[in-house]
Symmetry: C2
Subunit: 263 residues, 2 copies
């Protein structure tokens, strides 16, 4: 915009972008190693620079964190989308939900510090800027789309099972609005169940990543998948499995490919 040097493809702009990326990469490495408290000086040392030089690229430590957070949400969103897309039978809603859940957990345990940044306790002075809310919704949208597809098939638990406790009147508008944002046309009751499953999902991932199941459950992966299957059944997605006589907890037969690493 300055019309002089910093043209879009200018050399300076290119090396600057490379520097920015390298800083973020090293910062991620430090994040993974030392946990949440990221030291700018340490990052600078690793880059062979002096700490003040970093401020040419990031206005503050919080700015760096913000970019890392956005990248994290995007990574999770991408992982979720890829896992969903990898399920060939689009009508296998249980398989899709499980694949997404497993992929999200997989990413989380592989990047615990970044996950903590996204879904753990908020860092003290930091307030998430508006720029983070968009990426933050990406993983949710994937799950919402599955629910929407399930609803389109008319197979959700809320529509086939005995009704859950009725939604208090005060909640109905908000839940309806949430449904509109995430899964258009989804009835309130189904959206409520979806929110509960979403809560359970991230509760489970957090318990896993933060090691809250120590001395209780060691078979983490198996437990997580079982848990997810239970919630899938709670949502009623298993009824959607087209083939086979019995509905119920049929979701177990999800092809192993569901959890395969994204291509």
């Amino acid at each position: 915009m300055a019309a002089t040097s910093t043209g879009a493809g200018s050399i300076r702009a290119r090396v600057r972008a490379e520097m920015t990326d390298e800083i973020k990469t090293i910062a991620r490495r430090h994040l993974a190693a030392d946990g949440a408290n990221l030291s700018l000086r340490a990052v600078a040392r690793d880059m062979g620079m002096v700490s003040s030089a970093l401020y040419r690229y990031f206005a503050s430590r919080d700015d760096l964190l913000t970019e890392l957070i956005i990248d994290g949400y995007d990574a999770m969103g991408e992982v979720a989308e890829a896992a969903d897309a990898a399920v060939k039978d689009r009508a296998d809603l249980a398989g899709r939900w499980i694949a997404v859940a497993v992929a999200l957990r997989h990413w989380a345990v592989a990047h615990p510090a970044e996950y903590a940044l996204l879904y753990g306790s908020p860092v003290p002075g930091y307030v998430a800027p508006q720029a983070t809310v968009g990426p933050a919704t990406r993983p949710v949208l994937v799950l919402g789309a599955i629910l929407a597809d399930a609803h389109a098939s008319g197979l959700l638990a809320s529509e086939t099972s005995p009704p859950a406790p009725p939604l208090p009147r005060a909640l109905r508008p908000e839940v309806r609005r949430a449904a509109g944002a995430v899964a258009a046309g989804l009835p309130e009751q189904a959206m409520a169940r979806g929110l509960i499953a979403w809560t359970e999902l991230f509760g489970a991932i957090s318990f896993d990543v933060f090691d809250r199941l120590k001395n209780t459950i060691d078979e983490r992966s198996a437990w997580f998948e079982y848990q997810t299957r239970c919630m899938v059944e709670y949502l009623g997605l298993t009824d959607a499995a087209p083939r086979g006589g019995q509905p119920a907890h049929r979701g177990t037969r999800t092809p192993r490919g569901a959890s395969r690493p994204r291509g």
Copy 2:
């Protein structure tokens, strides 16, 4: 212990205990104000002391944190136990579970920083010492007792509803062991459901405390109670209350008065 000065009831010991308490109180205040990163120097300033003097009372910052964590678990445990005990109709299992859940959430939103310390992302360099595991189980035990009582009444969902997905063989010993520690005699299937409800509960509290529902659900209390009611139904605790024409989700008021309140 040296047999000379520090007798159990000595004056020095008393004032020392008072100082320790005051330090912890001020530390809690700072924790609530500034978030997770607790500054020893700031605490010392507030006490009109110099930072090094604090080291007479706590070997390190982590030591202080440990004590705060233990206190926190104890506080939550106490809150949970009190909430459970306050339900006069011991047979109203749904009411008891809901009361405990609501009390836990209430404490959590009233002490967000302490809750984050207990259930949020682990603080970087800190590893929880063994002394914390005992208190940490207190809240869980309260919920486990409710499940055990429900099982004694033979009213759990796993025993009355169609079966959930079968527990993989690899998980069964661990789940059985967990059941033994928390709710003696509870069958595996019921324990699995309990673990899921527990996961959902703390997922919900964390979402609430960490403000992850911003712009989605504003009626936090109503949403939390609804959510809890759904999980109570999932557990099958509502079956303990004979549902008349009036809604079953009224859990707090259960007509069937039976067993004696325990001491």
